[in-house]
């Protein structure tokens, strides 16, 4: 009788332990599934941020007072000579960081003859993703004005 009662109690404890184990296994399954879902949503959020950052930087570059053509409102025309002067300044890494252009490639492409002027050269660091945004602008050189595409590539 004593043995039977003890076995009954042992079975009860084992039962409870088994329930707890199953409960935790289900919980772990749930957590793994949830963390996968979270990871995917974080990745989507990061991609979204990268795209927003590209657009912000494109606006920033297009509206740089440093590049404005004489007698033209800022953002409507880019002076290529001023762009070259700014390029010299941006060769200093600290200045590049100051402008926030350290993970960017900035190019101005002449749509008529296909030539391009680079403000910030091709990014050489490591990156996992990149995003490009282009803005049509008017560009001015010594000889005249032409239609160009300002393209900004942001690296992450």
């Amino acid at each position: 009788m004593v043995v039977r009662k003890s076995i009954k109690a042992q079975i009860k404890v084992t039962e409870t332990t088994a329930i707890l184990i199953i409960f935790f296994i289900l919980l772990i399954f749930g957590l793994v599934f949830y963390s996968h879902f979270q990871k995917r949503s974080i990745k989507a959020f990061k991609d979204d941020i990268l795209e927003k950052q590209t657009v912000i930087n494109a606006i920033k570059v297009a509206f740089l007072p440093e590049l404005a053509c004489p007698n033209e409102p800022i953002g409507t025309c880019i002076d290529v000579q001023k762009m070259e002067s700014l390029k010299t300044i941006l060769e200093n890494k600290q200045n590049l960081l100051y402008y926030g252009f350290n993970k960017l490639t900035i190019k101005l492409e002449n749509k008529i003859n296909g030539e391009s002027t680079t403000l910030v050269d091709e990014y050489r660091g490591n990156f996992t993703k990149k995003s490009t945004f282009s803005i049509p602008v008017l560009a001015k050189t010594q000889t005249g004005k032409y239609f160009a595409i300002l393209s900004i590539t942001q690296y992450d």
Partner: protein, 334 residues
């Protein structure tokens, strides 16, 4: 004996259940707390990632006013005048956006769901940078004038977008201000501030500046009045009143100093670009009257390097030379 053993087993069984229950409870509470923190960070990141392009867009075009609706959050604006490090953040989350090139004049904290932005442009004389004035309906700006300065106060008042809370008050009507709806009150004295007694409930949420014909002066609280600091914190006014508006909407003299230093740093880059640009134009116009004027501009740009007043001084002269370029049919520099 048997009964006692069964009782002990029963007690142990319940202790086991209790411990397991507590562990499960702790596990769920920690997950809930973790999730709360994550969602707070996520909301802060979302607010800032939405706000950043809005502010970048607002900053791009001069003389624009925008009304932005935001979720309830405490936005904090920091600028250290010594290191020139500046950022804005959702307070308490650590989520922030650094603003090395962006110039903001705003209260230190903005908690209202509505945000007003107004874009100013600093020219010296070429466009140096746009700056963004940020404020909200919880901030009141009070212009205090006397009969001799009414026109100046009215002129400044008329340039500011009407959506921003500004009251024009004659110096003896200070008690007509109702401070209750506002979190911060900024007094802009167009008259001698030391003779004006400010009621206690207004004074505790107030800051002040004084605007004269030539300068903006930051004031400090002195008992129930505002008075000039010692040494005096004053900055020269510019013809476009950029400095004036910047001082009106700055949180304090530290923020103003920091943002102006950032502006001067940006000016220095611009100066180098214009120097290079003018020298190239000078070479292209060798032997003409244009070259002489370009030479004078190069001299002026080389002089204006240090202080705000020297930059403003040289700006006037550079503007004259730029107009001369137009009169002589030479390409202008800006």
């Amino acid at each position: 004996m048997k009964n006692k053993k069964a009782q002990v087993q029963h007690v142990f069984f319940w202790i086991f259940i209790l411990i397991a229950g507590i562990l499960i409870l702790i596990f769920f509470i920690s997950i809930a707390l973790h999730q709360k923190t994550i969602s707070e960070y996520k909301i802060a990141s979302l607010i800032l990632s939405d706000l950043q392009p809005i502010l970048a867009g607002a900053m791009a075009v001069e003389e624009t006013f925008n009304k932005i609706e935001l979720p309830k959050a405490k936005l904090e604006f920091i600028c250290d005048p010594n290191t020139l490090y500046s950022e804005y953040s959702v307070k308490g989350t650590g989520i922030h956006i650094e603003t090395p090139t962006e110039i903001f004049f705003s209260p230190t904290e903005l908690t209202h769901e509505t945000l007003y932005t107004w874009t100013l442009q600093f020219n010296a004389p070429f466009p140096v940078s746009n700056a963004l004035v940020l404020t909200s309906p919880e901030n009141l700006y009070v212009f205090i004038y006397d009969q001799s300065t009414k026109d100046l106060a009215q002129y400044i008042y008329d340039q500011i977008p009407p959506q921003i809370n500004i009251e024009m008050i004659e110096k003896n009507q200070i008690n007509s201000i109702n401070p209750i709806p506002y979190k911060n009150i900024k007094f802009v004295f167009f008259t001698e501030p030391s003779g004006i007694i400010i009621p206690e409930q207004i004074l505790k949420k107030s800051k002040a500046i004084e605007i004269t014909e030539e300068a903006v002066v930051f004031l400090q609280k002195n008992k129930n009045k505002f008075s000039r600091t010692s040494p005096e914190i004053s900055y020269p006014r510019d013809p476009q009143d950029f400095i004036t508006y910047a001082a009106i909407f700055s949180a304090d003299s530290n923020q103003f100093e920091c943002q102006i230093k950032k502006l001067l740093k940006r000016y220095d880059f611009q100066r180098k670009i214009y120097l290079d640009y003018t020298k190239k134009l000078s070479q292209q116009t060798e032997g003409t009257v244009c070259q002489v004027i370009y030479g004078e501009i190069v001299k002026l740009l080389n002089q204006a390097q240090e202080s705000l007043s020297s930059i403003l001084n040289s700006a006037q002269q550079t503007e004259q030379r730029n107009n001369q370029l137009e009169q002589n049919g030479c390409p202008q520099i800006y």
